[in-house]
């Protein structure tokens, strides 16, 4: 017997993501999903963000790591709430665990939740966790071919952060090529050149975040 059943395979996952979205909307909290390779600078960007904005905004972090609490420990000194999710081998975070983790925050007093996804350019792009924006973080040391090789992330993200720009002179990174491949995938997206280590370009990131936050709060 053959039965026709046109059904979305990811229905359950998307349902969970919608519950996350509803919760964030009700509490007027912005959630950003930081996605990048291991070593691209996700945790360093978070550290800089927390220290630049902690007097102005109330923030929380959901740390996704395959194993260990190393990143969570790095962020402890900023005195903000952190929820750690160890995925035990899974390569991405899913909305059901995000929803549980959100229960650990006082969302009535939170402006932004940062999700540091598992270091990986493929799977985290695939899973809607109910965030407002995906942020693609890549670094010049990874090479300029990353947008072409991982198109889904660059197609779906709301902003590209190109980190370690201070090291560009020591690499053969072709910035024009990189930016034009991002444009082919996502013509509307901004590309911010930063060096988290050298505190370069971070004002652009802060402006982007505060601009996005006011849109989310007023929507």
């Amino acid at each position: 017997m053959e039965i026709k059943i046109v059904k979305n395979i990811m229905e359950a996952v998307e349902g969970e993501a919608q519950l996350v979205r509803d919760l964030l909307k009700e509490k007027r909290v912005m959630m950003v999903n930081l996605i990048g390779s291991p070593g691209s600078g996700k945790t360093t960007l978070l550290e800089k963000t927390l220290s630049l904005l902690k007097d102005r905004l109330s923030m929380g972090v959901i740390e996704g790591d395959v194993a260990t609490d190393k990143d969570a420990i790095r962020l402890q000194k900023y005195d903000i709430p952190i929820a750690l999710i160890n995925t035990d081998g899974a390569c991405h975070l899913e909305p059901v665990t995000i929803r549980k983790a959100l229960g650990e925050f006082d969302l009535d007093k939170t402006d932004i939740i940062f999700v540091e996804n598992v270091g990986n350019l493929v799977c985290p792009a695939e899973f809607d966790i109910g965030e407002h924006f995906k942020i693609a973080i890549s670094s010049v040391t990874e090479g300029h071919d990353k947008p072409e090789k991982y198109p889904l992330l660059f197609n779906e993200c709301g902003l590209v952060v190109l980190n370690k720009i201070d090291l560009i002179q020591y690499t053969d990174f072709d910035k024009e090529y990189y930016i034009s491949s991002v444009r082919k995938l996502n013509g509307k997206v901004g590309v911010l050149e930063v060096s988290c280590r050298m505190d370069q370009g971070l004002e652009g990131w802060v402006d982007w975040l505060t601009g996005a936050l006011s849109k989310v709060k007023n929507s």
Binding site: M1, K4, I5, V6, H92, N155, R183
Partner: protein
Amino acid sequence: MHELSIVENLLKVIESAAAENGISRVTMVNLKIGKLRQVVPEMFQFAFDTAKIGTVAESAEVKINFVPAKAVCRDCGREFAVEDNFFVCEGCNGVDVDVIEGKELQIESMEGE
């Protein structure tokens, strides 16, 4: 390896559809998967063959129909095929485009007894 997560979700949908239709043994599952989903067929097959054991789909075969990417330009309204991940309108070179096909993760039909 997001293929395994997709397969786990797929098996849940199969289990409930089989129960609703009184099927105790699923023999064939037809899927529609968008090219933009970055699903590697071999990885998907391996994940499916591993995860199906002990489920109603234990002896099922899976067939995937891959859907090419298609977008529509918000500026001029033209629909165009997205080739080589080039999300720029072929009519007006506009970059404000919406993807309309190529992100499917759908079960289309299944066979069983």
